[in-house]
């Protein structure tokens, strides 16, 4: 058995030696994951998050950026655990899409 994320040793092209900024939404994803996994909550560990992006499918793994994979995996795992439903999440996201404005402390 070899996960699609288990790519050590594969052939690949040149290393993309670039610097990218760390965006606010990405920091927010990481912050929320850390809080959910902390000693007061233990709602979702890093191991569970990894299982999330290792099992949501190879197409998503190839197409999505690093933090997009993370937020999607987090939502999948939290839904699996019954923290909220897919419908509740989609409804909230749709609401926000409708009235999206940049966050106040966005760079």
């Amino acid at each position: 058995m070899r996960g699609y994320h288990d790519i050590g040793g594969n052939e690949a092209g040149p290393i993309p030696i670039v610097e990218l900024p760390w965006l606010h939404w990405e920091k927010q994803v990481e912050a929320i994951r850390n809080l959910l996994g902390d000693g007061t909550r233990r709602i979702m560990s890093l191991d569970e998050l990894r299982r999330g992006f290792e099992s949501f499918g190879e197409e998503k793994y190839k197409q999505w950026s690093f933090y997009r994979r993370r937020i999607e995996a987090m939502v999948d795992v939290l839904i699996e655990k019954g923290v909220f439903t897919r419908e509740e999440f989609e409804k909230e996201a749709e609401l926000l899409r409708g009235r999206w404005t940049p966050p106040v402390d966005c760079e």
Partner: protein, 216 residues
């Protein structure tokens, strides 16, 4: 070589985007998704908005400067260096640097050994010291090739390791995290510890670069 046990052709393994970067629409969508998540969690009293803000500040604060402090101390204090190589977490704590991961293993470059750190399975990196890994570190190309053809990878970074120098590549796949202790540059003998920190770059603590005196 055993079968990969996939239905799709093996060449699909090779077809990864060099780096998937969100465009503006993608970043807006990312912001919406994380805000939606945060709203649902806050509504259930699982997290508080103030906590998220403070945690963001906390994860923003580590950076290369912390690793540089550790390296500069190891360069100037042999006893500290020995403690660092034996137990990185405790030695970092001596300098007021709290390592959040299970253990920090510091690997020393010498005249005949060069170290390189990667994480083939995901993106493990000593974030509590160095902050975020560079985009290339978490790219599929680096993860795939660092454990297969590390010398060719280093050439792409402009680092030529002579063949008589032994390479040690560390795949951080479990609970340990790794920091490379680069070789102290020749010509730096008269620099103070504080001045030495200025010579320590992120890439020389990952192993894709060496510390050097600034060009005159």
């Amino acid at each position: 070589m055993p079968d990969h046990n996939h239905d799709a052709d093996d060449h699909h393994h090779d077809h990864h985007e060099p780096l998937v970067v969100e465009d503006e629409a993608g970043n807006i969508e990312g912001q919406i998704l994380v805000d939606a998540l945060q709203n649902l969690l806050v509504r259930q009293n699982l997290i508080a908005p103030g906590e998220v803000r403070r945690e963001i500040e906390r994860i923003e604060s580590p950076g290369v400067h912390l690793g540089a402090k550790i390296v500069a101390r190891a360069w100037t204090d042999q006893d500290y260096k020995m403690r660092l190589l034996a137990d990185g977490k405790s030695a970092a704590a001596e300098l007021g640097i709290a390592v959040g991961e299970a253990q920090l293993i510091v690997v020393e470059n010498t005249a005949d050994t060069h170290n390189l750190v990667c994480c083939t399975l995901c993106s493990c990196y000593p974030r509590s010291i160095l902050g975020q890994p560079p985009a290339w570190y978490i790219s599929k190309a680096y993860r795939a090739r660092a454990v297969r053809e590390p010398r060719a990878v280093l050439e792409e970074f402009g680092l030529h390791i002579p063949n008589h120098v032994k390479l040690r590549v560390h795949d951080s796949n479990a609970d340990m995290r790794y920091l490379v202790l680069p070789v102290k540059p020749t010509g730096s003998e008269n620099l103070s510890e504080a001045e030495l920190t200025g010579l320590v770059t992120r890439d020389c603590m990952i192993g894709t670069s060496e510390a050097a005196m600034p060009q005159a």
